[in-house]
Amino acid sequence: MGASKGQKLSGMQKQVLSLYRGFLRAARSKPAEDRRQIESIVSAEFRQNSKQVDRKNFLYIEYLLRRGKKQLDQLKSPDTIGLSSVNVSSSKKQNADT
C-alpha cells in the first residue's frame, strides 16, 4: 500500500473505500453472528487484495470493484443471510485418466 490514508486519495481509492463501507453497512442489517462472519470475510479479502494487487493495475482493480458491487447488491437483499468463502488453490493438478 502506497499513500497513507490521511493524504489525498485517488478516485479509485475512494471507490474501494466506499465499497468497503457499503459492505459493513449491509452487514449491520443482518443478525449478530452472521454480521461478525461477513465483517471478517470482507475485511480479510480487502486487506489481502490491498497487499497483493499492484496499485497501478487499474484493469484488475476495476474488475474487482465491479465484482464487489454485484456481490454487495446480492448481500443487501433481505433474503441473503451471510457470506462464505472457499479457497481454491491455483496450482494445476493433472487428473489421471481413468
Binding site: N57, L59, Y60, E62
Partner: protein
C-alpha cells in the same frame, strides 16, 4: 462375370464338402476385391496434406491479472468444422482447455456466442472460417467489460432491455373474456423484423454512440424491442411507451450510423425501427 462363376463353384463345392468331407477342412474364399491391408495403404496419402490456419484470440485471466494478450493458436482446417465456433471448441478440446467463451445452441438462435471476428461483430456459430492463410482475430464484443477471455458483462445490456418493459400491457380486459386477443394478419405482419431478435448484443456493441454513452443511451437492441411493443396492436400503453423513450439520451443519441443493421447476424434492421419510433414521436 468372373465373380459369379467363382461363387457358383463355391456353392457346388461347399454343398459337396458338407456332406462328404470331414468338418476339419475349410474352403478358402478367393475374393476379387482388395484386402483390408491394401485399403489402409491408400488413407495416409490423403491425410498427409494439412490446411493450417492461425487464430489470434484475446486472452485475459482475472486470476492472474496481467495485461490482456492476443494468443496464437494453429489448427488444421481439414479436421475442423466450417464455423468459427467449431474452431474455438477444437482449440479448447485439444490445445488449451482454459480458453473461456459462451456458447449454447450452435445454430444461431440463442445468441450466446456473440463476439468480434476479424473486426466485425457476429455469432461464432454462424460465421464461417475465412479460407486462405490470413490470420483470424477473435476478440470479445467491443467496449464491454471483460469477465474472462471472450466472456463479457451483459448486465447493463439486459437492464436496458428490462427498462422498456417488454411485455404486453393492457388497460381493458380482452374483448372475449378468457380467450386470446385477436389480431389481424396485417397487424401481425407489422411485428416481422422485430420479434426475431435474439438479444445477442451484436448491434448495440457495434454502435459508436452506444460505446460513448452505454449507461444513458438504450442502444439499438432495446429500442428495436421498444418499437416491437409500440407497434403491437394488442398493447394499449402505446402513448406511455413513447413518452418513456422520448428522452434526449435514451432515443436521440441515435445518429443513424447504421452499424447495427450491418452487424445483426439475423439480418434485422434496428436503425429502421428507431426511425419509426422517431417518426411516431413527431406525429403522436
Amino acid at each position: 462375370m468372373a465373380t459369379s462363376l467363382i461363387r457358383r463353384a463355391m456353392n457346388v463345392t461347399s454343398r459337396v464338402s458338407s456332406s462328404t468331407v470331414a468338418p476339419a477342412s475349410r474352403l478358402v474364399l478367393v475374393r476379387p476385391y482388395a484386402s483390408e491391408a491394401e485399403a489402409q495403404k491408400v488413407e495416409p496419402k490423403a491425410a498427409a496434406s494439412t490446411n493450417m490456419k492461425t487464430f489470434q484470440i484475446y486472452r485475459w485471466n482475472p486470476d492472474n491479472p496481467a495485461k490482456p494478450q492476443l494468443q496464437d493458436y494453429k489448427i488444421d482446417l481439414k479436421e475442423c468444422g466450417p464455423m468459427v465456433l467449431d474452431a474455438l471448441i477444437k482449440i479448447k478440446n485439444e490445445i488449451d482447455p482454459s480458453l473461456t467463451f459462451r456458447r449454447s445452441c450452435r445454430e444461431g438462435i440463442c445468441g450466446s456466442c456473440a463476439m468480434n471476428i476479424n473486426g466485425c461483430n457476429g455469432l461464432a456459430c454462424l460465421t464461417k472460417i475465412e479460407s486462405g492463410s490470413s490470420e483470424t482475430t477473435i476478440t470479445p464484443l467491443p467496449h464491454m467489460f471483460v469477465i474472462k477471455d471472450l466472456v463479457v458483462d451483459m448486465t447493463n445490456f439486459y437492464n436496458q432491455y428490462k427498462s422498456i418493459e417488454p411485455w404486453l400491457k393492457r388497460k381493458n380486459p380482452p374483448p372475449t373474456a378468457g380467450k386470446e386477443i385477436p389480431q389481424s394478419k396485417k397487424d401481425r405482419a407489422k411485428l416481422d423484423g422485430m420479434y426475431e431478435c435474439i438479444l445477442c448484443a451484436c448491434c448495440s456493441t457495434s454502435c459508436p454512440s452506444y460505446w460513448w454513452n452505454p449507461e444513458s443511451y438504450l442502444g439499438p437492441a432495446a429500442l428495436l424491442h421498444a418499437n416491437r411493443w409500440i407497434s403491437d396492436s394488442r398493447d394499449e400503453y402505446t402513448k406511455e411507451r413513447l413518452d418513456a423513450v422520448n428522452d434526449e439520451y435514451k432515443l436521440y443519441r441515435c445518429h443513424t450510423i447504421l452499424n447495427c443493421a450491418r452487424a445483426c447476424p439475423k439480418g434485422l434492421n434496428p436503425g429502421k425501427q428507431i426511425q419509426h419510433i422517431k417518426q411516431l414521436q413527431l406525429t403522436g
